[in-house]
Every structure is written in C-alpha cells, then in structure tokens.
Amino acid sequence: MADLQHLPYADSAAFGEPDDPPPAQAPTPAAFDLERARVLLAAQLVVDGHNTLGQQLDHTHWQDLMYGSVLLDTDIPRIRAGGVGAQFWSLHTGPDATGDSAVSATLDRIDAVTTLIASCPEALRLVTGADEMAEARDSGRIASLLGPVAGAALADSLGTLRAYHALGVRSATVAGAHWTATGLTPFGESVIREMNRLGVLVDLSGAAEETMDRVLAVTSAPVILSRSAARVLTDHPGNVSDDILRRLRANRGVCMVSFAPGQVCHDDQPASLRDVADHVEHVRALAGPESVGLAGSYGTAVDAPHTIGLEDASCYPNLIAELLHRDWSEADIAALTWGNAARVVREAKAPH
C-alpha cells in the first residue's frame, strides 16, 4: 500500500486495476526527476499553506489519520510521503456554521485540531513560531500551525483576535470580515496593526483587490495568501492579480499556490499538475522566487474534485519533479517548499 501512495505516477502499473481506463492527460514525470524531487524534499520539506482536514474531524477518528484513511485525501502516512514538514491547519468552519456562531464554531475547530495534534504526538506537533517549526521538523514531527481563522470569526473584536492568538492561532483570513467590505475601514486598519503586533499572519486569500491593496499599504509584516493561484491564468475569485503579486516583492509576503482544480484551470477542462506548475512559475516570475509557496488545499474527501497528478497529500514530489523538469534551480525549489513560508512565519513575529 505504501508504495502505491508513494509513487502513483512513477510507474504506469501503479494506476490501479488493469481494467481501469487510463486517466486523462496523466502526467508521468521522469523517474529521474522524481528521484531528485524526493532527495530535495528530504532536505527541504514542504510548508503547506492550506488544509481543511479540521472540517472532517467530527466524523474522523485520529487513528484512521494516523494509519491511513480510505475516505480522505489527507492522512499522516500520505503527508509524510508527500514530504510535508509543516502544515497550516485551516480553522474555517465550512458552510454549516451560521452567522451568529462563527466564534464558537471556530473555537470548536481549534479544539478539534489541537485534540488531533495531542492524539498523534509521534506525528504532529503544535507550533507557534518559526523556531518551533524547525525543531518539530528536525525531530521528525509535522509542525502544525493553527490558521487561518475565518474573517467572520474575528467578530469585529480585537479581544477575540487576541484570544485566538493566545490559543495558538497564527494566521487569519481577512476576507469575510465586515471591515473589509469596502477595502479596509479604519477599524480594519487597527485589526491589521494588532495582527502585526501579535504576530498573526494576515491571510489575503479570497479578499477583494481593494482590500489587498489597502492591507499591503497598512501592514508592517509580510502577508500570506494561503491558497491563491494567478488570476491572469485562471479567473477565479480566490486567485490574485498580477498587480498584487508584483507588490508582494516589497512586502516580502508569500503567495502559496493552491492546487484546487477550480483555481488552476477553467471548469471545462481537467486540471493537471502542469497547470499548477504554470501558476507556480507565473507567481515566481511576478512576485519573485522569495514570494512563492505551496498550498495543497487538501483535507477533503478522496472523491472530491482533485487536480490530476496531485490527488492527495502524498503528491508534492510529482510537482517538484515537474518544476525540476522545467529547470528550476535547487535553491528556488528550497525557497518554494520551506524557505519562504518559514521566513514569513519568522518575520510575522519579528519587531517591526
């Protein structure tokens, strides 16, 4: 089983039963590139920006995640096989949470994720800063960062923001907060400054262009886009414009490119890892090699739509192999996988 999960595309025999039809446009990175990708990932693991496993935890036992889940695209064996060394666990509450319970629903997700982390101490470790991230990685644990919380869950309250921070949350989505409805209100500016002061990363994914523009003017810390691809390639509301990507250079922020099929390819075509690679290359070209990262956007059911070649959390080596094939330098790949995100986590906490 583990072999299947490790190298689904290295060998065409790994595609399943013989009578399964071959998947459309199946990318088959050269075995040589895959091998190099694995070697590189062993040295510089992935910091992944977005995983919604937290929404699945009410009906998922931690033991299934520890030893392998047949229902979900994320579990510990696959995260390890994928070379993920640090994971942002999204605290968004999904469509069930009604407007007047976003805070307690978020506390519920924090509780569920921290309980999972506490249940799997050999695999996961809660971290709140860059040093702890590296320590967890070096001791073979998947560094687990809490975030982002949803904008609506901030409840227009700095006290609530500080409570999330005290509970270990280190990033917050601004989209969905009242104070981003028209760019950024004066109260919104004070929220951004308070996030800077606390060391909570401002996550711009999903925010309006005007809001991103205002936040970049106000923030004194690098921002992240926890799950965005390039809008010029795929027009999706979660994606980011070229203008904002160019401004990430000066901000030293990171755009973590989403693997979600709808964000990397138009609906009428199947998305493949080559599309994701196109987005990653575009973001690197505009924002610079120090401002690009990865966001698998996993944490859903295995039968939910996935990008071909990046079906589950074990698939990062496929993407790295594709980038090597496109002549990415090892330094750029190291920055993409670990370096940039780790730097942003560190600089979010540094004095401004």
Partner: protein, 399 residues
C-alpha cells in the same frame, strides 16, 4: 446615611491576620466595570490610582483590604447569546490579561492552587478568572475547553436567565435543574479542573450539580437563604451537602441579597428602573442617576458587616467552618454595605467576626485556606480523570 465605621481594637488584629491569611475573594466585576465605564481603556480608569467614587476596586484598596487572591469575573450580560456572548467573554478575558500584564508587581497570574500560594508568598495578588454564566460557552464543550485554556478556572452555570441546559435561580423552571447536556458540562469541567460555581443557579440545578460533580463545587458569591430569603442565596439543604462534596460557599455582601429590608426596597427600585425603560441591572450613568433619584425619595436600608457576619455565622453552622468563604461582588452591584463599601472593607468584616469570638484558625480557613483547598481538590480530580475530551453536543444529549 452611612455611619462612620467605629474604630475597634479587633481591627488591628484583623489586619494582622489578613497579612498572614489574606482574602481569596470569589467574585469581582472590575472587568465589566472597565468595559462599561472606560471602554476597556485601562488608561482612562487606571486601577493603580485611587478610584474611590468611580470603582469599588483599585490596587491600593485591594492592598489595604488584605486581598491576596481575586477571582476576576469575565461576566457578560445574560441577554447576550450565541457568538455575542462568546466574543464578549473573550474580550473580558483579554481585559483581565491586559490588566495583569500592566501591573505585574501587584497582580500575579494564577491558574492553580500552587500559583495562589506562590503569589501569597511573594506578596502579590493571585489573579484568577471566573466566567459567570453558561451562556458564555454557547452550548459548546469546545468553547468551554477554550475558556479553560485561556485561564478560566470557574464557571457559574447560569446568570440571571435560564440557558438551554440549566435553570437559573431568577427565572422560571425550564429543564428542571440540569439537562443531560448540563450534566455533561459538569463532568467536562471536572475533567478539566474548572470549578463548578453554583451561585445564580436554581436550587434544582444546585442539587443536580452536586449529584453529578466529582469535584468540590463553589458558590462564588451567595449567602444564606435561611437568613435572608432571596433566590440568589443558598438553601440550608444545599449548604448541608457541602461537607460531603468538599465545596465552599463564599458569602456575598450585596445588600439586596443579604438584608431582608433591602430585598423589599430593591423590588420597588427595580420597578422604578423598568418604569424608566431601563434594565434593572443597568450600570450606565443614566441608570445610576435614576437609581440615585429613587434613593433620595426612599431611603435605602443599610446593610453592614454585621449583616454579612450573620450570614457567615449561619453558613458556618449549616456547612461547617471548612466550607465557607467570601465573595464580595464588588463592582458588580450598585450598593454595598456601609462598612464594606469597597475592597478596602474586608478588615471590618474580619473584626466583626473576631468580636463574635471566631478563632484565628476559623478566620484563616474562611479567608484563605478553604478556597485554595477547593481549587487544589478540583485539580486532583482532573489529574485522576481518564475521560477523553467530551464530544457531546446539546443536540446529541438533549435532542
């Protein structure tokens, strides 16, 4: 008006006693007062300075009152519900944390009985947090756990209104005490080491909580119903169960709960507030002015330290010396007894008890030891617990 407290010989002895065994006070609403009167701007109402006339509580008066540990209430109004209540509670917690960060030499953050003892040894005021009402957790055990992580060490099960899983003393019977989910909340609090506070709850809820709780309970600010028949006070039948449970009833000073004449006066004053379109617990400037006008027309019956001592005498008889404490409710009430007017007043109460022939040991148990023991016992129950975090919901248990 208020008589000037007479200077008595026992006052010096009271102060000396409090220097060794300071007061653990079960309930102080300073955080809410800071919200209402200063919008949480700690510069606007600086408790390092004397705030007499504006607040019942400030650091100089806590010192002169002999307070060694304070449960700061992170109360939010019981007409708040859902996210509003949760978010407002998080803001109250944040206010206490900011207060502690601002005054590190005077206030020591405390989460455990050991922390309380360390603070006493260092001459700082151990500062704990208590949530006042189950509405603060929005029927979510995860939210309860978040409050615990944020340092909350007791939760009063209700405030003045019923909640879906527990009945309040000052509301109509609802679920008839604790619902199945309510009992699960109590068990989860036991598992966490968060004290179950039975002030404000209906007698049926007190009974159900005592039947359910493995850990000692507290009454953070309630007096004896046999002395003054008010639903906020504790019936003898419940006080008599405290020795078996190990809990502590912390007598409150609020005149409208402890003095029978004040109960009746307050009933009329509340009617007057409602006639002016105000909530009877409103503490805004306008509400206070309405109150003041009423008081000018109808002189307010005055409670004293002796009134509170009457309650403590009775509670001691009913529950035993090991099961009583003090919970003044300062800054949570418009009026206070004449010689317990603010947090500097505790020595007057201790002097009164000394005059009533309470021994030094009795008083040390009342002021310090019982409350610290109860938190320590709750910690022991939590440590021994083998339960996993509960995933029960209101819907799953109460349907």
């Amino acid at each position: 008006m208020s008589p000037v407290p007479e200077v008595r010989g026992s006052l010096a002895e009271a102060r000396a006693l409090l220097a060794d065994f300071p007061v653990v006070d079960g309930h102080n609403d300073l955080p809410w007062a800071l919200r209402e009167h200063a919008g949480y701007d700690l510069d606007r109402l600086d408790v390092a300075a004397d705030q007499t006339g504006r607040l019942h509580t400030d650091l100089p008066r806590l010192r002169s009152g002999g307070v060694g540990a304070q449960f700061w209430s992170v109360y939010v109004r019981s007409d708040m519900a859902g996210d509003d209540a949760v978010s407002a509670t998080l803001e109250q917690i944040d206010c206490v944390d900011r207060l502690l960060a601002r005054h590190p030499a005077e206030l020591a953050p405390a989460l455990t009985a050991d922390d309380m003892e360390a603070a006493r040894a260092a001459g700082r005021i151990a500062s704990l947090k208590g949530a006042e009402g189950g509405h603060s957790i929005n029927s979510s055990l995860a939210t309860l756990r978040a409050l615990h992580t944020l340092g909350v060490r007791y939760m009063t099960l209700t405030h003045n209104d019923n909640i879906p899983w527990a009945d309040s003393a000052t509301d109509e019977p609802g679920v008839g005490g604790l619902s199945a989910f309510g009992r699960e909340v109590v068990r989860e609090m036991n598992r966490l080491g968060m004290l179950v506070d039975l002030s404000h709850v209906a007698a049926t809820t007190m009974r159900d909580a005592l039947d359910t709780s493995e850990a000692p309970v507290i009454f953070s600010h309630s007096s004896a119903r046999a002395v003054c028949d008010h639903p906020r006070n504790i019936p003898d039948g419940i006080l008599e169960r405290l020795p078996a449970n190990g809990g502590v009833a912390m007598a409150t000073f609020v005149p409208k709960f402890v003095l029978p004449a004040a109960v009746e006066w307050t009933r009329r004053a509340d009617e007057n507030m409602r006639a002016h379109g105000l909530h009877h617990l409103d503490t805004s400037a306008r509400a206070m002015a309405v109150h003041a006008a009423f008081e000018a027309a109808e002189p307010r019956p005055t409670a004293t330290a002796a009134t509170v001592a009457d309650h403590l005498d009775h509670m001691r008889e009913a529950a035993g010396i090991a099961h009583i404490g003090i919970g003044g409710d300062f800054d949570g009430t418009a009026f206070t007894p004449s010689d317990l007017a603010d947090v500097a007043g505790y020595p007057n109460l201790i002097a009164e008890l000394l005059d009533r022939r309470w021994s030094r040991t009795d008083i040390a148990m009342l002021t310090w030891q019982n409350a610290v023991r109860v938190l320590r016992d709750a910690e022991s129950v939590a440590r021994a617990s083998t339960r996993p975090p509960s995933t029960a919901t209101l819907a799953s248990l109460d349907g």
